[in-house]
Symmetry: C2
Subunit: 156 residues, 2 copies
DNA sequence: GTATGTGCAAACGGTTTGCAGTCTG
DNA sequence: CAGACTGCAAACCGTTTGCACATAC
């Protein structure tokens, strides 16, 4: 069931999230209430959050957060390589917290229910190697996006 | 050099482009000057054209084309599955004419010079099969986007 | 002749920015 | 206390749309 060529990833990372670990990242110079909040939401979420999601969740916790700040903070987090930005065909842009190096994954999206499943595959690594080897290309990122209909939606 | 796992694709399709072949696609009902022009430009180009590129090229040939028409025509061509839309990380949206079924390919982008190289890989098919098999997922599209620095840019 | 397509300019929606006020270190 | 950060509203920019006119069939 779980082969190196393809396996569904376990993306349930936030089993425990110690409150002290809530230390803000070294982004910019100042650790503000807003940045901590946004950082924490991203870190403790398994989902792929849009800016709007993030904004809504932040406001639910603390109304003193503006949309601009969400944008600005995401931008900093991207720059610091702490979050990854995903751009799907439908133009949705989502953000996910970057887990440790070991956790490289890709996405399968259901075009009907919008659900996103993460998977891992050794093909990615092999392809990376091939591209480097045969073209002298220095690979920075390799993303695989699979879209279609999940079993539930397809049979309905 | 050319293995099923990875090979650079030959995307030089427009070796000859017979003028008669300029028959417009069955998009909408009417075959207009503008639609023919846009269609032809896309068809005869190997590149991945942005809307702006397309607009500029069209105007160079015939100034009586508006940006709205370019957008509307692209939209029709997408719907008719005659062109593919590519959305890269940097938010660039490009369009490429869809070649015959046999020609499935993916993209390698140089983050420095912006060049895009097409490649083919059997891994895509295998992955597709795995996803279908193990998840009962009906795959509509599988896109691989490799970004990094090409040999020339990396050594510079 | 009629419905479809086009050009133009205005509207749209997500993202960015300028600025005055606030807060961190 | 200075400089960094925030909220707000305005600007931006690629894309879409409404409408009057043009054109294909």
């Amino acid at each position: 069931m779980s082969s190196p060529e393809f396996c569904i990833a376990d993306n349930n990372h936030n089993v425990e999230h110690p409150a002290e670990e809530t230390v803000p990242p070294v982004l910019g110079q100042r650790s503000t209430r807003q940045r901590k909040l946004i950082y924490d939401i991203l870190k403790s979420s398994n989902d792929h959050l849009s800016v709007e999601d993030l904004y809504r969740r932040a406001r639910d916790i603390d109304s003193r957060v503006s949309l601009s700040t969400v944008y600005r903070t995401i931008s900093l987090l991207k720059e610091a390589s702490l979050v990854d930005e995903l751009i799907f065909e439908d133009d949705r842009r989502c953000y996910e917290f970057k887990r440790g190096n070991g956790y490289q994954h890709h996405h399968i999206r259901c075009l009907s229910c919008g659900n996103i499943i993460e998977f891992q595959t050794d093909y990615a690594r092999r392809l990376r190697d091939k591209v480097a080897e045969e073209m002298g290309f220095s690979v920075e990122s390799l993303k695989i996006d699979v879209a279609g209909y999940c079993e539930a939606c397809a049979t309905r």
